[in-house]
Structures are given as C-alpha cells and as structure tokens.
C-alpha cells in the first residue's frame, strides 16, 4: 500500500483529494489530508462581508462535508517535513510516512511582518479583509463610519487574489455613493506596483476605472511602517500617507513549517517546476495552489486548473513516466466593479488579460475586461459552483489550459501608450 499525503485542506488540497480518490485504486493507495481547521471558508466571499452582502455564515461550511469517503482527515498542525526520511512530523510529535507528498497550505496574511500594523489601531482604524475576522470587523467599522480618508493598501506582492483590493475599492466607492456619503470620503489606492495591475492592458483598463471613480492611485509605495499615533503609512523612501480608515493587504507568506523544513523561498513559498508543480529539490514532493512559487496569480481558479493538470500528470509520475501535460498558468478571475457589475479576466504565464468573450468566442456569455451585469452574476453564481462542483472535484466545463479563442489582441499602436516611463 502506498501513501499520498496532502498537507492543507483549502481549495487546492480539498479538490485534489476528491479527484485523486476517484483516480487511485483504494487497494493500492491510501490518501491522508492534514489540516487543523474544522470549517471550510469560501474565501472569495470575504470581499462582500464588509458591505453586508454576505454574512459570515454564508461563506462557512463544515470541512467534514468535503472530505470524501476513503480519505483520512487528520485535524492537526504540521511541525516539519523530513524529506530525506519521507516523513511529516505533526504538532503533537507523531509522524506520518509518505510515498508522495503534496504541500497545499496556501498563503497566509502576516500583519505581524510590518512594524506598527498590529499596533493599537489594529482593527480600530487598521483592517484587513483576507480573514473572516478582519472582514467582519471591517463591516462593523464601516457601518459606523461617517467619512474621511479611506486608504486601500497592498503591502507587497505576491498576494492572494491580486484583484481583490481593486474590487474592494470599486465596491467601497459604490457603497458610499449609495449611502450618500461619497462626497465626504476620499479614497486612495496605494500599491507597490507601478500601476493598478501588473499587466499593461488590464492595468490601463483598471486604472481608468479607478480614475472614473475619483480614486487616487499612489504607486511604487513600499510601506516601511505604520505610524499609529498620527495614522500614517510611511514608505521606505519616506513618503507619508495619512488615513482615517486603512484597509490593508498584509504581507503574504507560506506556512512556517515550509521554512523550518528547508523547502521554502524567502517568503516560504515552495519552489516548483511551473509546468507540473514538482519540487525543485525532491521528486516525491509537489506544491500546489498558493503554496507554490508559481509566476502567476495566487487564486482559487489557478488552484483548480492546476489540480486538473496535476491529477492526470500524477498517474504518470507514480508509474515512473514523464508527466505529459505542461501547465500554462491559466487563471481567470471575476472582478467586481460595483453597482451590480463586474469584469472577467482570463490569462496565463505568457498571455496577459485581453478583451474579448469567454469561454466561447463571440457568444461568451462573459465579457473579458469589460464591465457587465452578467459578469457580476457569474461571480455570485460561482459560490454555488464552488461548494457543489469545484471542491468535490467534479469536472467543470472549462478547459484547464487557456485558450486564445474569443480573445482580441489590441492593435500594437496602443502598446506605446501603455508603456510608462518605466524607470525615471
């Protein structure tokens, strides 16, 4: 009997054990998943909690409902991986042997890594929305807030769901307008990037949307510390941005045990082959989803497409054959833009988000890089798909690899406009 051990029961880990249990014969392979959490959160739903669109109960379900029969779930912390012994040591000191190991422990917001972030103003005027507690505390603060300067801030890239802070800004703008508060609120978007997004065409479109909403963008801003007394974001090059309400995306890091096990990079993400998620150091360790150092968005859609590629490749890998499918970094994300509308972006390692239709050319029904009501409905509908089809590892009618069908590459005349003075 061989043993597939999966660490982490988030989107990637849960989907993976469901798929693999169907593909691997029970008499040959045991599957174990380790995660101390007893609840599974629909994380894309966090974004809607501060505005009261979702309640915490709507984004939470018992984890046990998603672990299939034939998979053992151990609710424990991981202390260390000992790759040379093929063993994982758990928090209570017990050890598990594995033949194949998958690290799927995601990325974790680490407000403790920025001086002052968890100071006296934490959850008073300084909030995050990447945790259920943070999103809920922010909801309560927003309900009482009667205006001032709202700063939406990204500490450093990479972050999970990189469009979420933009979505938060769009939704905040719409929410304040609806409540008749918008003229008393100044919104500033502060980013370490040189624009609203990394990729030029999407950055221009999304940057334009910030401008239309009178949201000022402060670029190339690397926070050094947060001054709690004067409520300031202070950068390494000594710029200061005052706030009345700060909504920050803290530094994202992989799990600490990854670092303790000597398997992480400087942010505890696991260096892997981006084509097949195999560790660069060990040929029986994979990292999938946000835990890996893939050069693409840390996002549930990537985890989902990656698991599909992994599942097929893994059967070859354990048979001692080369893995036939090369993952292309396929990502797609709905981007809420407020007032019941949204955009959709679809991209991969090599192709930036482009305008067009998805998943089918011309008929769509979803529009790429363009606001529509249907994109918003798609985003809302996705919650049902997530619980009922994605997590249980059912096949969705979306190809794992990106397609150029339906995408329009803009004429190159615009390319020059898109390029900024990169360096000066």
């Amino acid at each position: 009997m061989r043993h597939l051990l999966v660490l982490g029961a988030g989107t990637a880990g849960t989907t993976l054990v469901n798929k693999m249990r169907r593909l691997l014969p029970e008499e040959e392979w045991a599957i174990t998943i380790v995660d101390p959490r007893t609840e599974h959160h629909y994380q894309p739903g966090y974004l809607f909690i501060p505005f009261g669109h979702y309640s915490p109960a709507q984004v939470t379900k018992p984890q046990s409902g998603f672990i299939p029969a034939g998979v053992r779930w151990i609710a424990a912390d991981v202390d260390e991986i000992r790759p040379e012994d093929n063993r994982v040591v758990l928090g209570d000191g017990s050890a598990l042997h594995y033949d194949q190991l998958v690290i799927a422990t995601g990325t974790i917001p680490r407000p403790d890594q920025t001086p002052g972030m968890t100071g006296p103003e934490w959850r008073k005027s300084v909030f995050d929305f990447y945790t259920l507690e943070g999103a809920t505390a922010l909801r309560d603060a927003l309900a009482e807030w009667d205006g001032g300067r709202l700063v939406v801030h990204i500490t450093e890239t990479p972050i999970k769901c990189p469009v979420a802070p933009l979505e938060f800004s769009f939704l905040a703008d719409a929410w304040f307008r609806r409540r008749g508060l918008r003229d008393r609120v100044e919104i500033v978007y502060v980013t370490p990037l040189d624009g609203a997004f990394t990729k030029p065409i999407a950055s221009k479109r999304l940057g334009g949307m910030l401008e239309e909403r009178e949201i000022r963008v402060e670029t190339d801003f690397y926070v050094e510390h947060i001054d709690n007394d004067d409520r300031l974001l202070v950068s390494y090059d000594e710029r200061e941005i005052p706030f009345d309400l700060l909504v920050t995306v803290p530094l994202n890091m992989g799990a600490e045990f990854v670092a303790r096990s000597g398997l992480g990079d400087e942010l505890n993400f696991v260096p892997v082959d981006p084509a097949n998620f195999l560790s660069k150091k060990w040929d029986n360790i994979f990292a999938i989803g946000d835990a890996a150092d893939l050069p693409i968005s840390k996002a549930g859609s990537v985890a989902h497409f990656a698991v599909e590629v992994f599942a097929e490749n893994f059967l070859h890998h354990i048979a001692g054959e080369p893995m036939p499918i090369r993952f292309d970094g396929h990502a797609n994300c709905f981007v809420e833009s407020g007032d019941g509308k949204g955009l959709l972006i679809d991209f991969n390692y090599d192709t930036e988000p482009l305008p067009g239709k998805y998943p089918l050319p011309v008929v769509g029904p979803f529009s790429l890089l363009e606001e529509s009501r249907l994109n918003h409905l798609g985003k809302l509908m996705f919650k049902t798909i997530y619980w009922n089809a994605l997590l249980p590892g059912r096949d969705l009618p979306l190809p794992a690899l990106m397609s150029m069908a339906g995408k329009k590459v803009p004429e190159s005349e615009s390319e020059e406009d898109l390029r900024k003075e990169a360096l000066l």
Partner: protein
C-alpha cells in the same frame, strides 16, 4: 527586442531598455546603464549588482527587493537610497537583468 550600442558594445534590449542577454553585460555597460538613469555607481551599488547577477545565475529570475534584503542582507531602506524611487527595476536595469516579473 532590439539591438543597441551601450558603452561601445552592441547589446540586445527589450522595449523598455532592459538587457535581454545575460552575457552581453560588462562592468562598463553597467556603468553606462546607471548613467542613463542618473546614477553614479559607488562600491555599494556594485556590491548589490554583483549579488543580483550571481543570484540570477542560480535562480534564473531577477531577485525581488525582499529577496535582496533577506538573502543578501542589504536593508530595503538602503536599496531605496541607492536606487531611488523604483529600486527593484533600477537594480535590474543596471545589472543587465530582465525586469522583475511583477507578481500578478
């Protein structure tokens, strides 16, 4: 992608002027690249650039600011002093390395 002459050497650069061929870089080219963006290289600059080039050789990608501060032990604050405003890009530009992949 185009060919240009820097400090008397023909080098390949991308649309934004970042060199694309690791081996075409020399100290002289680096000095000229620095001058292009208004930097006069000190020994401290040269230490950073050397480390970046070595790291690129091992990793196959341009180090992020965090990587430089944690692995090379050069505080981020110093990097902002040495390469003002956009240190990650400026370091890569002078070191003849690809523009750091802005993580998406």
């Amino acid at each position: 992608m185009s060919l240009t002459t820097i400090a008397g050497h023909e080098v390949h650069v991308d649309d934004e002027g970042f060199m694309t061929e690791y081996d075409e870089w020399t100290e002289e080219v680096g000095k000229q690249l620095a001058a292009n963006i208004g930097l006069d290289l000190s020994d401290r600059h040269r230490d950073v650039i050397r480390w970046l080039r070595d790291d690129y050789c091992e990793q196959g990608e341009t180090a992020t600011l965090r990587r430089v501060s944690t692995k090379a032990g050069i505080p981020t604050k110093d990097l902002f002093t040495l390469f003002p405003k956009k240190p990650a890009k400026k370091m890569a530009y002078v070191a003849g390395l690809p523009k750091p992949a802005g993580c998406v």
